[in-house]
């Protein structure tokens, strides 16, 4: 049972983001790519927020977001992309998939903590 799922192929990012969220009282699960993220999200309906990279092996983050809606039929979970990408076309694709927001790396925990808590249904 986790409130937030962090999906990134980099263990550095998983530790940095997940560690910050855990130290601030949130329960976190991890996935190493979009395919793993889709599987973990399907197995744990308690997840309220997904923080997801875009460029990953096996399945990218935008494809994962689309499949969350189309295959898992989960329209309730909030999805935020955390990526080095900032291309308008990618953001438009994300919007079409119903993602909630976009963060350009590096991750700034204090800047987003309050919003993440709201999206995770905590605050």
């Amino acid at each position: 049972m986790a409130q937030i799922l962090v999906v990134d192929d980099s263990s550095t990012v998983r530790n940095e983001v997940g560690g910050f969220l855990q130290r601030n009282g949130l329960s976190v699960a991890y996935a190493v790519d979009g395919k793993d993220g889709l599987s973990k999200l399907g197995a744990d309906p308690s997840v309220k927020l997904v923080v997801c990279d875009v460029n990953m092996p096996n399945m990218d983050g935008l494809t994962m977001a689309e499949k969350v809606r189309s295959e898992l039929r989960n329209s309730a979970v909030n999805i935020v992309m955390l990526t080095t990408e900032n291309a308008p076309a990618m953001k438009e694709r994300g919007k079409a998939a119903g993602i909630k927001g976009w963060i350009v790396k590096p991750f700034n925990g204090p800047a987003v903590l309050a919003t993440f808590k709201k999206l995770a249904g905590v605050a």
Binding site: E16, T84, N108, A111
Partner: protein, 183 residues
């Protein structure tokens, strides 16, 4: 095929991204100095990333000692998952390279359409001299002093397929990183 001020702009962009991407845990910025040649130590590895469009290909390499202690560089005090191993230097350098290349990609995207960026690849630094054998119009090397104990080297190699001319100053950097853009 690259103008003088485009070359200088690209160098400024790369140095700025290195300084930003290799800031220390307390936010101190890395010191980046131009050098004539990259001379990675024996056993060093390099994280290689590319940015390409139909008019150019840019190769970036970060040379790093694989045995360096990554934990000193991380803001987080330790792994979030107690069962997980601490991030390796390979993973850490891949992510720092990803952020560095990402910034250059975003800035080049202001001047050139349809740029795309690779994911990082880790290869042995003995391959570094072969970068000079790639077709190129612009090459540069820098020393990156992260702190007293860790020095990296970085290389940049540009091949153009059409004339390249643009001018970029760090003051023009308008992007805000780390903040949530709500949709």
């Amino acid at each position: 095929m690259i103008s003088a001020h485009a070359g200088e702009s690209l160098d400024r962009m790369f140095v700025h991204s290195l300084e930003s991407s290799f800031s220390g845990p307390a936010g101190e910025r890395a010191v980046v100095t131009r050098i004539d040649q990259a001379c990675p130590a024996a056993g060093a590895q390099m994280a290689v990333l590319m940015i390409a469009s139909h008019t150019f290909r840019l190769v970036m390499a970060l040379h790093f000692p694989p045995e360096a202690d990554t934990q000193r560089l991380l803001a987080a005090p330790g792994p979030a998952d107690e069962n997980a191993a601490p991030p390796s230097m390979r993973d850490h350098m891949s992510e720092r390279g990803n952020m560095c290349c990402g910034m250059v990609n975003r800035e080049l995207g202001r001047f050139f359409a349809h740029t795309g960026m690779s994911t990082p690849h880790i290869i042995d630094s003995r391959s570094a001299p072969f970068m000079a054998a790639l077709p190129h119009e612009h090459v540069g090397h820098w020393r990156v002093e992260v702190d007293e104990q860790l020095q990296l080297q970085a290389s940049l190699c540009l091949h153009t397929r059409a004339p390249m001319d643009f001018e970029w100053q760090a003051q023009e950097l308008a992007e805000v990183t780390g903040e949530l853009e709500f949709f």
